[in-house]
Amino acid sequence: MTEIKLIYFAWVRERIGLAEERVDVPASVQTVEELAGWLQGRGEEYAYAFENPAIVRAAIDRKHVKPDALISGAREIAFFPPMTGG
């Protein structure tokens, strides 16, 4: 188990009902995609937030990453919808 800080933004945050949390992630969860899948199983808020996992984006330590990025060593992982700034 590794403790990781998770942060959520926009409707991901609203659906989960939390802006951030610290979770203990099992060692079997190695990629961002696997982490999203594992979070889906934590309750219906999470299932709702990740109901279409392909559109949820992620950042590790404040850098955009792809679904297959390894989470090992991450201090902070963020999940959010596609960005709409500018």
Binding site: A10, A59, R62, K63, P81, P82, M83, T84, G85, G86
Partner: protein, 156 residues
């Protein structure tokens, strides 16, 4: 390349004139200053406001990365990018991009590049506040924006 680079992520309004002036006056061989300001729209009266959420820390980092990319691509003397967060009313400026160069093509292209990349990479999200007082939707990202950003990948 000793370009003057300014990136700010702030709640406060910005002053396009002051930012453009600062770049225009950097030195005697600035020949071109191009700028873009993106404003909050009412969408025909449908919206009372837009609320911009952002990822503090990453927003600044990501914009800085894009700005550094721009100065490696074009001969720029200065770049200023300011992106606001919080509640914007129709007519409020949300984002400002200004670039200065000796040559006009560099100024034009870099502003467009910066805006395209900000739209798709900077961690900001817009939520609508409807004019009728009801809670609005999160603005959906446009495929168009991804396409606009992608075109820069085939160049250079």
């Amino acid at each position: 390349m000793d370009a003057r680079l300014i990136v700010r992520v702030q709640a406060e309004p910005f002053d396009p004139a002051a930012e453009m002036d600062a770049l225009a006056k950097l030195h005697d061989d600035i020949g071109a200053v191009a700028s873009f300001v993106g404003y909050c729209r009412s969408e025909g009266g449908r919206l009372a406001a837009l609320e911009l959420e952002h990822y503090p820390g990453m927003a600044e980092d990501e914009i800085e990365r894009v700005v550094h990319e721009a100065v490696t691509r074009w001969p720029l003397s200065g770049v200023t990018v300011i992106h606001r967060y919080g509640v914007m009313r129709p007519g409020d400026g949300i984002v400002l991009v200004v670039t200065a160069s000796t040559h006009r093509a560099a100024a034009f292209e870099s502003v467009e590049f910066l805006m395209d990349y900000l739209k798709t990479r900077a961690p900001f999200w817009k939520k609508e506040h409807r004019a009728d007082g009801s809670v609005g939707e999160w603005v959906e990202a446009k495929d168009l924006d991804d396409k606009a950003a992608e075109r820069w990948q085939t160049r250079s």
